[in-house]
């Protein structure tokens, strides 16, 4: 009995050590993946760390998802690589995924949006009906992928109500869908449905496009040199300033976009010019210091500054534009924030190169509009 007890103790000690080793191996491997940086730094070690994690059982899936919290995009994708292998192997062999734990992970909004969206996909693969039951609760979720599921369901329901002649209910459900929708296709679909039901929709406000600007121009962009040239508005943005422009003295002049999608069109005040540069500035008021995104759409070469600091620049011409083409993380300060945009038009003469314009909005990472504290924006 004594020997048996000793064996049990040794075995227990061994298992505990083994368990600790496994845990250490997991933590160390996760640490290796989270240390991967740009230009492939850390890739050499990441491969074997990933192989270690991918050998884990399905019970490790919630921990792998949690390891994505706060990780950089490289690490998140590496960890997804392990999740994909473990889940795929388990399901291929007829095994089960830990539905409850994955569901609880999904419902815990303190976790990052990407692993939560992945948890939802795993729940769906494990039990499609269980996933469907969760969908209504995802309206307003911080994850745009998850809220998309709930919006899609509302759109179907609203469509059904409208078809059945229950216009009031269809309108209210559509309003709820519009409030939650962040993807352009869903926003346009629900806006169209509401207009069909004779309701007004203010998409400019929904997206939060900045429509009131001061413009200065035109300056030159001969041989595309204007992009790198530092014209007066970049040195002194005072609205009372006068600059040397391409055709004489230039002053700031007010511009208000009437476009539903907030397009700020330099061709309107200046004509359809070529090889020119224009500036637009606006002041955005924030109630607090806060992170935000400047989301820009522009098919001209452009630069953008926030409070005098260059945020980003890009010298591509006429390759296409769309809403939220560029998402630029910034830090707003409490009070007024000066946004300056430079847009360069090039020498191309084709019909599709006429545009000299941009659209800009301020929002949070989900794409929810942040409106300026001033009444106009």
């Amino acid at each position: 009995m004594k020997t048996f007890g000793l064996h049990v103790a040794i075995t227990a000690l061994g298992l505990a050590s083994f368990g600790q080793a496994v845990e250490d191996g997991f933590d160390n491997s996760v640490a290796v993946l989270r240390a991967v940086g740009g230009e492939g730094h850390g890739n050499a070690a990441a491969g074997s760390a990933l192989q270690y994690l991918a050998r884990g059982g399905v019970d490790t899936l919630p921990a792998l998802l949690a390891a994505m919290d706060g990780a950089n995009p490289f690490a998140v994708n590496y960890l997804r690589g392990a999740v994909e292998v473990i889940a795929g192997n388990a399901l291929d062999k007829g095994g089960e995924l830990p539905l409850v734990k994955l569901g609880e992970f999904l419902l815990n909004k303190t976790h990052d949006t990407k692993p939560r969206a992945l948890a939802f996909e795993l729940v769906r693969r494990a039990d499609a009906e269980a996933a469907e039951r969760l969908v209504p609760g995802l309206l307003g979720d911080p994850s745009v992928d998850l809220r998309r599921e709930a919006v899609a369901r509302l759109l179907v329901q609203a469509g059904g109500l409208a078809k059945a002649g229950n216009k009031s209910a269809a309108v209210l459900l559509s309003r709820q869908a519009l409030d939650a929708a962040r993807d352009l296709d869903q926003i346009q679909a629900v806006a169209g449905a509401l207009r069909e039901l004779d309701r007004k929709v203010n998409l400019t406000r929904h997206f939060g496009f900045l429509v009131d600007w001061q413009m200065a121009g035109p300056f030159h962009n001969k041989d595309r040199a204007g992009f790198a040239s530092v014209f007066g508005p970049e040195k002194n943005g005072d609205l009372s300033a006068t600059y040397d422009g391409m055709k004489g003295k230039v002053k700031w002049q007010p511009y208000s976009s009437g476009d539903e999608y907030g397009m700020v069109d330099f061709n309107k005040p200046y004509g359809d010019l070529k090889e020119v540069t224009g500036y637009a500035q606006t002041e955005f008021f924030s109630n607090t210091d806060r992170p935000a995104e400047l989301r820009l759409g522009c098919k001209n070469a452009w630069k953008i500054w926030l409070n005098g600091e260059l945020v980003f620049e890009r010298d591509e011409y006429h390759r296409g534009t769309r809403i939220d083409q560029y998402k630029l993380s910034v830090q707003l300060i409490k009070g007024g924030n000066m946004i300056l945009v430079k847009a360069c038009q090039n020498e191309q003469v084709e019909d599709w190169t006429v545009q000299w314009q941009f659209q800009l909005r301020v929002c949070d990472p989900t794409g929810t509009a942040i409106h300026s504290a001033t009444k106009k924006n």
Binding site: A44, G47, G81, E84, G88, F312, G320
Partner: protein, 404 residues
């Protein structure tokens, strides 16, 4: 002859590929020429579609075939930000594995193209897949991720709002990725083992969708021939050094093709460059504006060069002189490039119609046609008696069912 065959076989086994594999864009030599014989010619959907499988995402990358496995990339999700790599069983199209990753770069592109536009490449042991978002993944053939790169994070202005499309090539033991665009334009030589930069070469600031060609010199070393609006740069894949430059311009859409030591460049029509076998220089052989290709890349087979123009006309020229020999009207337009096998040219148009041209007939003859009924933008793969082609929704295996 026997010795040569043995040498070729050993070389093939060494790098993990076997005869009949289709390891990258336009096949083992990147020229669209297959050694397969006995492919179906008088095509019939009922007789020759061996299988058709739905894909989970969009794409126009070409399938790869390695033994009994078919690899294909796709992109899904509302924002096309789910990057998918699939491995299918060549016998029946069943899914062996699927991996999905989040895009780290831009997923904006023209509606016609896709985030899964570039074709992956394999050395027979590892699969390298890049997407228009400049996200690059290396997996083993069982779907285990070995390493990844998010090159738009590293180089934020390396992007193209119309979409990127240059496919990967392997040369000199290096993985070559072209990220050429209007802004932060470069080509990089990457370690196959861990994806880190071995070299990074600044390239002309102009959108470019072509894929590099690889020249093997008489000593066995390789050169990467990079095409752009500025012509052709021959680059040492081991260090990124430019060896020579043909500077008379070239297209940024159809790619060059190398055959018999001559590079046929879409430049002022087609310009034939005779490459020195030591890789140190080139000499212009001829130029023909009458062979000008549209989107599809030219093809060279048995002393003939073939190109497809905007009107869907197949033009055949003499590789020795560039003289136009004959033309045959086909049903374009074409985005994918043609392949040739057993002296028959196969080309899929954008409406999903495949036409087979018998090249043994003096002026070519349409010997077979088949409608797949969906937009096809990819270049097909040919392997083990079958042709593989994909649309935004599906992938097909076309073969003589009796031989399966």
């Amino acid at each position: 002859m026997k010795k040569i065959l043995i040498t070729i076989t050993i070389a093939a086994l060494t790098n993990g590929l076997i005869a009949g594999d289709w390891p990258g864009l336009r096949g083992p030599l990147g020229n669209g020429v297959s050694n397969e014989v006995g492919l179906p010619i008088a095509l019939d959907v009922k007789k020759h579609v061996a299988w058709r499988i739905d894909l989970p995402g969009r794409g126009l990358s070409s399938p790869l075939v390695l033994g009994e496995r078919v690899f294909v990339t796709a992109s899904g999700g509302a924002r096309q930000d789910q990057l998918q790599i699939l491995c299918l069983n060549a016998a029946d199209g069943s899914l062996i594995w699927q991996r999905q990753f989040w895009a780290m770069g831009s997923t904006m592109c023209h509606n016609k193209t896709s985030i899964a536009a570039p074709t992956p490449v394999t050395d027979g042991k590892l699969l390298y897949a890049i997407f228009s978002s400049n996200d690059l993944f290396c997996l083993d053939l069982d779907g285990n991720l070995r390493w990844l790169r998010g090159m738009t994070i590293d180089y934020p202005n390396a992007r193209n709002s119309l979409g990127m499309a240059s496919s990967l090539v392997l040369a000199g033991g290096v993985l070559v990725a072209q990220l050429e665009n209007d802004s932060e334009s470069f080509t990089a030589g990457l370690s196959r083992e861990n994806g880190t930069n071995i070299w990074k070469l600044s390239r002309p600031k102009s959108a470019n969708w072509t894929t590099a060609t690889v020249q093997k010199t008489r000593t066995g070393s390789e050169l990467v021939l990079l095409q752009s609006g500025k012509g052709i740069h021959a680059v040492n894949p081991e260090n990124g050094d430019v060896i020579w430059h043909y500077s008379d311009g070239a297209s940024t859409i159809p790619s060059s093709v190398l055959a018999g030591g001559v590079l046929y460049v879409p430049s002022h029509g087609v310009t034939a460059l005779e490459l020195a076998d030591d890789g140190r220089s080139f000499k212009q052989k001829w130029r023909s504006s009458r062979l000008r290709p549209a989107t599809a890349s030219p093809l060279v087979h048995r002393e003939r060069v073939y190109s497809l123009n905007n009107a869907g006309v197949l033009t055949c020229g003499d590789t020795d002189s560039g003289k136009r020999l004959w033309q045959l009207r086909l049903d374009g337009p074409y985005s994918g490039s043609p392949v040739v096998a057993d002296n028959h040219l196969y080309v899929f148009n954008e409406e999903g119609k495949v036409q087979v041209v018998d090249l043994s007939v003096p002026e070519g003859r349409i010997a077979g046609e088949m409608e797949l009924g969906e937009m096809i933008l990819c270049s097909p793969a040919v392997s083990n008696g079958a042709i593989y082609v994909r649309s935004n929704e599906r992938i097909w295996k076309i073969a003589r069912k009796t031989q399966l």
